[in-house]
Symmetry: D2
Subunit: 320 residues, 4 copies
């Protein structure tokens, strides 16, 4: 890299071959970005906070397992970070081993616990004797297998990994399409420091963390009412314990629309007034490109017209 | 009154001695204003629209009979008028007749139908044989009795009127404290053309007419939600048929607070967006002087703080 | 009429020729019933309470003027009465006078205040000099005109009445189709003592009077929620002051459906628990024959299935 | 064990020394029950389904990490199981190693990922160089360390475990009170086959799994309304993806109260009607002994009174 241009630096859960790397490749090819593999999600996000990376690519939600706790919790507190983009990566595993391994001989399978969770039923049906050997990432398991001398036991017989890993580490695929759910997909987000918001596209999401004023059902209804009163639909809502007491919750929310839109801004103004804590995690384009649902009376022009009307009333005219 | 100053002209339901005149006297004494007696509420309000009067004083709600239909309906359509002030007048009747009339001889009682309605039980208990002879106002009945020559039958034996009427028309009081409900009170309002709003006092009302998007229970819930989401309490809500079809309604609403307050302005912005028709009928001081109920997070400062927060988010900073 | 059979006795607002009589004729012809004309709505209803009549036919709602206060209030308190049926009568007036009266000469018009209110705009446009002379019913005005000797002044020049009245009292029609609203209609109800409910037809209404626990917007929302949680739609909701204090209201409600239906019964159970007062005013067929709107999951079978499910859970099985 | 009595068999996440065993000891001492250690939560629950165990003790919620996914998901589908009791276990860790290990030398720490997650900040502050070596349970890490010959490297330097584990496996405590949150607590539940429900105590919980009819905010509001309309408060609500599509959710709910109580039964009847799927997971005493919050009008007597009232209305009497 010559001259004044520096390639953007992306922190991600490494090593090479993880699903996260597959997500990163959708965003910026290896020749368009510096890849900074990290040991975990928290380290990836902290790299952005500390300035060692410009962006982090991290998983935030899995269609089978739900929200990724480490990501949600790291974003929810500490120095502010914002989401800038999302990408979807289908979750397909292969079971891979050293050359010569027979599927029937596999009893110890190393992989990340989330991967194991997503294939439990497959193993019950196909390899009921298989036991799980936890690894810090699917690719780490593949790397360890590839690096262990052939005459040493790495502690397991096979790895459950992304197809890319098997390829990168030259492992033999013992079974492919290993998954309990063929349509499983993981959502990854690009995270950066706060700055100019991505421009609204008409197909956007706004992510938030909201604490409730109390732990009553009524408080949740009241919070949802702030969205409903402005016609803002939610595409995701997940409770997370606040960690101080059992029964107190924070809500991780994806609302349809962009902060630049009036109805989203108004909903946030309402939340800020009635909730003890609201953290804005960004407005960014949806990966699926679906247009935002907007009920009648909730377009920007409706808000502007209504505001002009109230202004004229305040000024003493009664235009009705 | 010398020189260029003209006393303000007040239209009201006459003739002299009506409850409406009693209300008017609370607002402006006979030496501070020109009193313009009118034949009915509609004429009083039209006098303001046509410029013949500066203000009208009209009854808007009775604690026993409810909203005054003619007032509510005339305000709800046609050239805009606004409420500027309210006053409360206790409803106490006397039964009065010509000198020499015996209470036991009274069988025909002339009065306005609303007055009759408010004393039905008293008559059932005390003068069960009495029949109602309708009049256009309580004072009109008194005036007719006073003006009828002693040897002519005015068509009734006694009148049910305000104490002031009996005094003004020199009638003999046959029974006082005639009322089914000793605490009954009528609310009158001063109505004028739109102009500068009365200053907020911390004890204000905002009156509105709102049409619903449909006749479903859900539509009413949605409308109320616009108030609830901003913590605005309602002190009165009355349905009125729209007149085009059975089952379609308009709502006459008094909300606590002043349009100059953010939470009221925001609620109106919301209503304007989601309801097919909203008419603002003014923000004005409450007669009872009770302070507005305001739940936490709904002060002007809360709205301003929340708006600044959203503005800063839009500008790319994340202050939380 | 021979033997043991007695014709049912119907009390109604007389005299002959009122709109109420027109409603009664839709229900039972003069040879099928005894007609008992009464001086007002309250007397009609009291005749049922005292046993002098089997039924009363009274107006309950007008598409222009709204709920009929005297009817609603008399039903809301005192000895229980129930609605058994409803009929709709179009509101069309004629202006009628003695033979030889010229329309242009009419300046004094006698009629019931509600009739006057519904033709105000017509008079403003066609007879702007006309003044209102109140009568206790439209037919009473017609009767008085017919009974006054030709050389006496009844106090007015013409009457505003139902076409039937002009015919019955042999008056000359000076103008017909007198109305501000050509589609106006009045809803009448047949009222009786509580007893076996009319059978459900699939097109029914249930009428109620409900007091709110407090005068806050939240209380109204909570009350509406009891209907919404069972998918019961409201076809009419009107507030009426409780009469003790300004700002406290009772609600007069027509809900879609019949008490024999589970979702209506459940909504009433909920109201009875959370509201300080609920009065049931009957379940009866709708005049318009429209089928009840029922959202998914609110049929009787859904309630029965859900209840059996909960019973089985309580018994220790978990059928899911 | 002689004679006809067999000690109840409890499956739990082993090996000896886990937090789950600490929970089990609160429920039944080693001489009152057969302890059946299992490799994971799913196996523990399946042991009850298959009849190999009478009960399972499994973690269901952690005050820091939230719901335990494997437990919630296994309970949510498959053969029905119910919760019978809950117990709380404070989460306190020790860092332990072989005799002679120095805290400063520790760079590789083996433990269960959840334990690691709950001590991340402690390690950042005290042993920033420490890396995580995943284990299937905290106790498994301790056992492996204890069983590895002194001259072999188990692959890590220390274990992060419950105090009980360090004691059981005779390890040296290098640091105690290791935790990011001193008040952290894990909630465990006793799970069995459906049968007679535990008797209501006035301090009970009812656990449910509820699917929403659609993924809109309105659907969530509607579901919460079924609780609110009966005054049932929620002590926990967590969304879980349905696994078929991103954005579709199931809700895991703890409601206050017992199915034997009317308001809870009614809420379930409502949910069963309007939600595509509801699974009852039991009514059982709360560990904290707090009395159920019950708003006015929601006692069993209120429901019974309201039901009798509706029954009498249906029978034709009007008791109001």
């Amino acid at each position: 890299m010559a001259g004044s241009t520096r390639l953007p630096r992306y922190a991600y859960l490494g090593p090479a071959g993880t699903f996260t790397e597959a997500a990163l490749r959708q965003i910026a090819g290896p020749d368009e970005a510096q890849y900074l593999p990290m040991v975990d999600v928290v380290s990836s996000l902290e790299a952005v906070r500390s300035g060692r990376a410009d962006f982090a690519v991290v998983p935030i939600e899995n269609s089978v397992e739900g929200g990724v706790t480490a990501t949600l919790d790291t974003l929810a507190t500490g120095q502010p970070l914002v989401l800038l983009r999302e990408v979807l990566v289908p979750v397909t595993f292969v079971l891979a081993g050293r050359a010569g391994t027979e599927l029937a001989d596999v009893t110890r399978v190393s992989t990340h616990p989330h991967a194991w969770a997503q294939c439990r039923r497959w193993f019950n049906a196909n390899l009921p004797a298989a036991m799980h050997v936890p690894a810090t990432s699917t690719a780490a398991a593949a790397a360890l297998l590839a690096e262990t001398p052939p005459d040493h036991d790495p502690g397991f017989d096979a790895v459950l990994v992304a197809p890319l890993s098997a390829e990168l580490y030259a492992l033999e695929v013992l079974a492919d399409h290993v998954a309990d759910n063929e349509t499983a997909v993981t959502r990854f987000v690009v995270v950066g420091l706060p700055g100019e918001l991505p421009a609204p596209t008409g197909s956007d999401k706004t992510s938030l963390v909201v604490h409730l004023p109390s732990n009553e059902a009524g408080a949740l209804l009241e919070m949802l009412e702030q969205f409903a009163a402005r016609g803002v639909n939610l595409s995701r809502i997940e409770s997370r314990p606040l960690g101080d007491l059992l029964g107190r919750y924070s809500f991780s929310i994806d609302a349809e629309g962009h902060l630049a839109e009036e109805r989203v801004a108004e909903a946030l103004i309402g939340l800020h007034r009635v909730c003890p804590h609201v953290r804005f995690l960004g407005s960014y384009p949806r990966a699926d490109g679906a247009a935002t649902n907007a009920s009648p009376g909730t377009a920007d022009a409706d808000f502007e017209g209504a505001r002009r009307w109230v202004e004229s009333l305040r000024a003493g005219s009664t235009p009705t």
